[in-house]
Symmetry: C2
Subunit: 329 residues, 2 copies
Amino acid sequence: MNIRVLTETEIRSCVSLDHDVIRAVGNGFTDLHRGNAFVPPVLAIPVPDKHGEVDVKTAYVKGLDAFAVKIASGFYDNYKKGLPNACGMMILISSTTGFPLAVLVDNGYLTQVRTGAAGAIAAEYLSRKGSLTAGVIGAGTQARYQMRALKLVRDFSRLCIYSLYREDVQRYIREMQPVLGVEIAAASSVQEVVEKSDIVVTCTPSKSPYLEAEWIRLGTHITAMGSDMEDKRELFPEVFKRAHIVACDLRSQCFRLGELHHAKAAGVIPDENRVVELGEFTSGSKPGRLTEEQITVCDLTGVGVQDTAIAMLTYQRATEKNLGLLLTS
Amino acid sequence: MNIRVLTETEIRSCVSLDHDVIRAVGNGFTDLHRGNAFVPPVLAIPVPDKHGEVDVKTAYVKGLDAFAVKIASGFYDNYKKGLPNACGMMILISSTTGFPLAVLVDNGYLTQVRTGAAGAIAAEYLSRKGSLTAGVIGAGTQARYQMRALKLVRDFSRLCIYSLYREDVQRYIREMQPVLGVEIAAASSVQEVVEKSDIVVTCTPSKSPYLEAEWIRLGTHITAMGSDMEDKRELFPEVFKRAHIVACDLRSQCFRLGELHHAKAAGVIPDENRVVELGEFTSGSKPGRLTEEQITVCDLTGVGVQDTAIAMLTYQRATEKNLGLLLTS
């Protein structure tokens, strides 16, 4: 039996954040909406004494040759040792035999890319087509991927950023201004970002809400991608009250791990079924934004179908190019 | 970051079913009993259209440098293509950084070994020391590992086997007689095996019970290792009624996936807390069998602590010998 083992360098050489990835991840959401995907609850392993957690996500999609099992870690003291906090790998399993087909030692790269892609999908269906100013809260890796992804679907010309860490903001601006080709301005508060932007993406590991409903102008779209654990949250519940459309990646997961979990507890989600899943947009069964004035919010927690989609794409391309090591075991 | 990638051949060259493995797995059960292990529920991915299932098991053990995430598959039509039904691999994750340390491409080998080891532990504490006849139901791979493991803790001189598949029994006898160094006799029924044996191990994927309580002589020990999914079962509930000691590997898991699940539904387990976990024996907090006459039963479903134990042992030995490939990613 042959297993293809791919390093991060090899994976980066065949998959990057582009329209192909957005399409693949979108197809994953469509499968999810159509009932073709089985997504078990996230398996979480807390490592409290090291301020860490390891999550396992997966999704079996009917009709695909394989599916991914992803191991993703976040150890929040790693930075003290000069190491990245996040890491991970994906294993691709044959849907026909159960045998492993590939080990994608991506160190979390594919997770960053597929998470960015989900942000692009949310913006594509929910933000105004003429959006000119993007705003981002947080200045980490995902704040980079979110804005690169957004640029693929909305041709914004200004970016407004806020982070608690000023040095990170300066580094972000130096690094991303040439990548995005837009002017990036450091804001002095979250409020300033929200008031100036047509699209706001929150990318922080915050455990308390910081984005207030009253700051939001009509026509704004907000994607909250930071919260993917029960104790994380970025938006005040009133944000959901003001929103004309509330969307998410996977209802069952967001009501357990995402912003919606807190919103529901606060009583601002009277009917769970009115929260739209991204797959309803990508499959064409729901239209997305209807008017220029609507306020739209999307809660992203990250779903196994995204991992299966990007792992399949990586495997197909790596196989075509015969990349990596073929392990005979 | 370096990740050690080990093939099945390399893994087999450094770990085999012996007293070291039994000790390592026993320490895993002790950690579990002492509350040092966190074992999340098994993540199960059914692939019904291919008659398959993929399970992910894991256990974080406080004080250990790493823990295993194991992906194990059973695709029950594989044999039609001449392929093994079971496969799998383990990923060893650093408990300090969350980074992957090793990929053990064992194709399910380590699972077979650690499952055998749990059977040996059950027999060590629950079977009569003077047991002379072992019995096994089923003639597959695990029926081989169970008897090899049993031989390490009980010096039986006869083995009695029954399987629905006569050819498998003949192959088992040819293969295992020289390995075990004991006379192996083919029985004509489960009843014959049970009536003749001091220790019986059931190793089948049966979905209906086949071992009846009235066949069991006083002093017999039974280990049921086949059932590890809700719909699998081997023992009639009355077996638990007759047992003086009922043990298992992990109560919460066995009452969900094992024989105990069905026994409880049948009302023959009046008090869940009277079911002993193997870790209570290995830690010395419970004595095991007390008299020559007791009937003892142990339900095994397979616990993440066994995987972490054997993955750690494999990694340590492979690192000492510098086996496998060091992937820089």
